[in-house]
């Protein structure tokens, strides 16, 4: 038989003004199982809590109901007090007779009856409460960072500097990401590679960072604190351990005309290559699709000239399993293109701009490579079609961004600023040239950002035209830009030598597939979703996985770096304890009754339900049942409401507890 103690709080006069607390204490005192009931001025005060603890011990109470304010206010307080008195904290419940009763009713009789019923309901509930031990989960203090752009690099360095091992995985042959492609950065115009490459070298040299380039995530298993990640290391055809990075192979490779993706396919590279001179690691990779040896079986020049004998045509893809406790996703972005899209695709191209077939209509990233001192033109702005310097250049903002009719309604956030930067770079590099910018709005919030934009107009002679461009077409060696200037209300036609499109930021291709491997959610554009837009912006709803950079939404460099450091801080918080403690409000499966229909698994938003084989002593399979991983379960209970035979139960909210409450009323 339970010995329940009921404590009715006056809350000063907040409750006792409308609820006759003494009568409530007297009435609930008569309920079966209630061994003790009393009322007190302030239960949450020190003397109140002392009364609670003392009574539990003196009266040998088995369960406690505190009738006071909302449990959202003081449930933790009283459960702690109960625990201090030697009872399991989950044997204490609160009855909300303030927010839900005394404050919302004026009639004393009605409020008193309601309060009595609320307390009675909680008395019946608490009888069915069970001892719930705190759940602890061991934490592997190693972290995986996916993506080696500035976000991934920053997160990896921060975590590694804190003394924890980091596994950094990059899909491309070198880390660096998009930031390594940029020429100068706004709003200071400092050289991107100058500030980026030291960080890349830090990664390469850091004793706590294990770097996998030219590698992809194959499989993610496990849960917070205990992930098992399988990484596919693609065959590089060059042994990383023996290669000295001397580069002779590249100079001798006969295939020299392969468009270099790093240079937006304007510059050329060899078949055995590093994407750019400052690449980390400085180990070449053989592009097997374009290599003569792989295509025809003849050549092998690189192997012959390689002193250390590092070239290995036989190398195969390998799989590596890394145990980690936390994952930072920093896969970055891709740029929208105006090309014709497949039929039925929700994102559309720009037929009015010739679907990307006019050679001198380029995107902003290509302009970056033209402007970059280490780029294919050595930093000269030259037209891809004929290598001439463009004397009239038109920049068009919001290409694909804020364009609902093209299927993307968001703002890409960085284009206003980089277009302003492009006009300046152009002004510096092409003397006597004229830059025009078509724009909808200029969005320049950020430290020194608006000043930067003003400078482009006021000091660097860019002509900004507020309006959109309706059509681009080639006329001779010019590109006719037809647009409108809505400030003046006229149609504008400019015969330009070159057009630069500020194309939208999109998530990386395959972002959805990676999300499915990780079990994290993403929006309709494939940007990854944070757990809470305001209060948990760097965490995924899936515990133990964090977001950094543009994979979550368009971001500039300072914002990306901030988020990466924030994600690293979250990882360090997780790693600050050996064991992860969590509230034991999780679902459990009664395996005896489970028939393995897995309705629970289908509705679980967290992927907490697994399939478990039950075998007899001889090892014969008896049946397959559901198993809820307590480390992953978030405790919503959707599984239980879905289970036809109620063989999965949410601790703290069991059917017994609920039915007891319903029956009490």
């Amino acid at each position: 038989m339970s010995r329940i103690g009921v404590f009715i709080c006056h809350c000063g006069e907040n409750i006792s003004r409308t609820v006759d607390v003494e009568r409530v204490a007297r009435d609930v005192g008569r309920l079966p199982g209630v061994a003790f009931s009393t009322d007190y001025k302030y239960m949450c005060s020190d003397p109140g809590q002392t009364l609670l603890k003392k009574t539990i011990q003196e009266q040998k109470l088995s369960h406690v109901v505190v009738a006071a304010c909302s449990p959202r206010m003081h449930e933790k307080t009283f459960r702690k007090a109960v625990e201090a008195a030697g009872l399991n904290p989950f044997l204490c419940e609160m009855a909300n007779i303030r927010e839900h009763c005394s404050w919302v009713h004026e009639n004393i009789e009605e409020a008193t009856i309601k309060a009595t019923e609320i307390v009675g309901m909680m008395v019946e509930r608490v009888k069915k409460n069970r001892v719930l031990p705190t759940i602890t989960v061991p934490v592997t203090k190693r972290s995986l960072v996916i993506g080696g752009g500035i976000a991934g690099i920053q997160a990896a360095l921060d975590i590694a500097d804190a003394g924890h091992e980091v596994v950094l995985v990059e899909r491309e042959p070198s880390i660096g990401g998009h930031m390594a492609q940029l020429s100068e950065t706004f709003p200071t115009l400092d050289c991107s590679q100058c500030i980026m490459t030291p960080k890349m070298v830090d990664v390469a040299n850091h004793p706590k960072i294990k770097l996998y380039t030219y590698s992809e995530i194959e499989l993610v298993e496990g849960y917070i604190g205990n992930f098992q990640v399988t990484i596919k290391k693609k065959a590089r055809s060059v042994n990383e351990d023996t290669c000295t990075g001397c580069g002779v192979c590249m100079t001798k490779c006969p295939q020299k005309k392969i468009p270099n993706k790093f240079d937006q396919n304007i510059g050329m590279r060899t078949a055995i290559y590093i994407p750019f001179p400052q690449a980390v690691p400085n180990t070449p990779v053989i592009d097997r699709e374009n290599c003569t040896k792989f295509k025809t079986g003849k050549c092998g020049v690189c192997q012959k000239v390689c002193g250390p004998g590092a070239v290995d045509f036989e190398q195969e893809d390998s799989l590596i399993v890394e145990p980690v406790g936390a994952i930072v996703v920093a896969t970055g972005f891709d740029l929208y293109t105006i090309d014709e899209k497949p039929k039925g695709s929700p994102i559309k191209g720009y037929g009015e701009f010739g679907h990307g077939k006019i050679a001198d209509v380029i995107d902003g990233m290509t302009f970056e490579r033209l402007a970059s001192a280490s780029g294919p033109t050595g930093g000269k702005i030259l037209r891809p079609s004929d290598g001439k310097e463009p004397k009239q250049i038109v920049f068009i903002q919001c290409i694909g961004s804020r364009a609902r009719e093209k299927g993307i309604s968001y703002c890409s956030k960085v284009c206003c600023m980089y277009t302003a930067k492009h006009t300046m770079l152009y002004h510096h590099k092409v003397h006597g040239g004229q830059a025009y910018v078509f724009f909808m709005d200029a969005r320049t919030p950020g430290k020194s950002y608006d000043e930067f934009w003003r400078r482009a107009i006021e000091e660097e002679d860019a002509v900004y035209i507020r309006g959109m461009v309706s059509r681009l077409y080639q006329k001779g060696d010019k590109i006719v830009v037809m647009g409108s200037d809505i400030a003046v209300g006229v149609q504008v036609e400019i015969e330009a030598d070159m057009v630069v499109l500020a194309t939208a930021i999109q998530p990386q291709k395959g972002a959805d597939l990676l999300a499915q491997k990780l079990g994290i959610s993403y929006d309709k554009y494939n940007f990854y979703s944070e757990a809470h837009a305001k209060l948990r912006p760097v965490e995924c709803a899936t515990a133990g996985i964090y977001l950094a950079g543009a994979c979550q939404g368009p971001k500039d460099i300072p914002e990306t770096v901030s988020q990466a450091s924030a994600a690293a801080a979250k990882v360090m918080t997780l790693f600050s304890k050996d064991q992860l403690e969590r509230e034991p409000i999780v679902a459990r499966v009664r395996e005896a009754g489970c028939v393995g229909c897995f309705a629970c698994k289908k509705v679980c938003a967290y992927g907490a339900v697994e399939e478990k084989e039950i075998r007899d002593r001889q090892g014969n399979l008896i049946k397959v049942v559901a198993y809820v991983n307590p480390g992953v379960c978030a405790g919503c209970g959707t599984c239980q409401a879905t289970c036809p035979s109620k063989c999965v139960e949410l601790d703290g909210y069991t059917d017994e507890q609920v039915i007891a409450m319903i029956e009490a009323l």
Partner: protein, 293 residues
């Protein structure tokens, strides 16, 4: 499958007035191709541009009622005029998306709105339903050597997601159809620019400027003639051509054909069956030169 293509036919007001030759050539061509057209009984004006500019509900109701009338005739609804086509498609689109407007319209026309029927421009019927292969097989007098500038205007393909006739900004359906008839097409820049449409009466200056740019671009691309699928475009390019030449001191002499006229020629129809005599810029010298007459 029944081999005969059957359509309800909505000519629209223009085809009963200034664009009589479009109506004539459409009926003759379709009958020559063995496609059955049955005029929608008691059809009336779609409201065109004026209605939707002043009263959206009126515009939607006019079209919804016409759509309802079209239900009486077997087959999808064939529409010749780009403007009627656009309004009918817009109505379907709007009423599908907006339940409130749908209710208002249903009250106005006192009948349930039916949106299942397909509205098709003649181009769609020729290129997709009949198919380019079958069209090409019907050609007896290929338009060999004729260089055609296909002019779409604003409404045939736009806005995105409403007419769904072809890619809204880089369509090819007109080119494909006239190439199936044996003609050559030219790549030109002003295929989708506006002709000024119904500003032809209120702001003729604007129209002259816009149409001049179109004619100039077609001429520069080496076209012998222009092909259209819209009575208003036709009016602005054909009827006003002489005036444009005078104002801009240019010489174009570009006959402006309806698509049904050119395709009609290729399947062997006679000039009087296609109403070629109704064209202001005389096509006879060109057609004779190319050996097509």
């Amino acid at each position: 499958m029944n081999d005969t293509l059957k359509y309800a036919y909505y000519p629209g007001c223009s085809l009963h007035a200034s664009a009589g030759e479009y109506d004539l050539s459409t009926r003759e061509l379709f009958s020559a191709l063995g496609i059955s057209l049955t005029e929608v009984p008691d059809w009336f004006c779609c409201g065109a541009t004026p209605a939707h500019n002043v009263d959206e509900l009126l515009s939607l109701s006019l079209c919804a009622k016409n759509l309802e009338l079209a239900e009486q005739v077997e087959g999808d609804l064939a529409v010749a005029c780009a403007s009627c086509f656009s309004r009918l498609k817009f109505t379907q689109h709007t009423l599908e998306e907006n339940a409130t407007k749908r209710k208002q319209v249903e009250k106005a026309i006192d009948a349930p709105v039916k949106l299942d029927g397909k509205v098709k421009h003649l181009l769609e019927i020729l290129a997709k339903d009949l198919g380019l292969e079958r069209l090409a097989a019907s050609v007896s007098k290929p338009l060999a050597g004729l260089k055609v500038a296909c002019y779409y205007g604003c409404l045939l393909t736009r806005p995105t997601d409403v007419p769904n006739l072809d890619c809204p900004e880089a369509p090819t359906i007109m080119e494909r159809v006239v190439e199936a008839s044996g003609a050559e097409t030219v790549a030109w820049t002003h295929r989708l620019e506006c002709c000024g449409a119904n500003f032809t009466l209120s702001r003729p200056g604007v129209v002259l400027q816009l149409t001049n740019a179109i004619l100039d671009s077609a001429k520069a691309a080496g076209a012998d003639c222009i092909m259209v699928g819209c009575p208003l475009c036709h009016g602005n390019l054909d009827i006003r051509q002489k005036e444009i030449e005078n104002v801009y001191s240019a010489e174009y002499n570009l006959p402006v054909f309806y698509l049904t006229q050119l395709v009609g020629l290729s399947v062997g129809l006679a000039p009087d069956q296609l109403g070629l005599n109704a064209m202001i810029v005389n096509p006879t010298p060109l057609l004779k030169e190319k050996g097509l007459l």
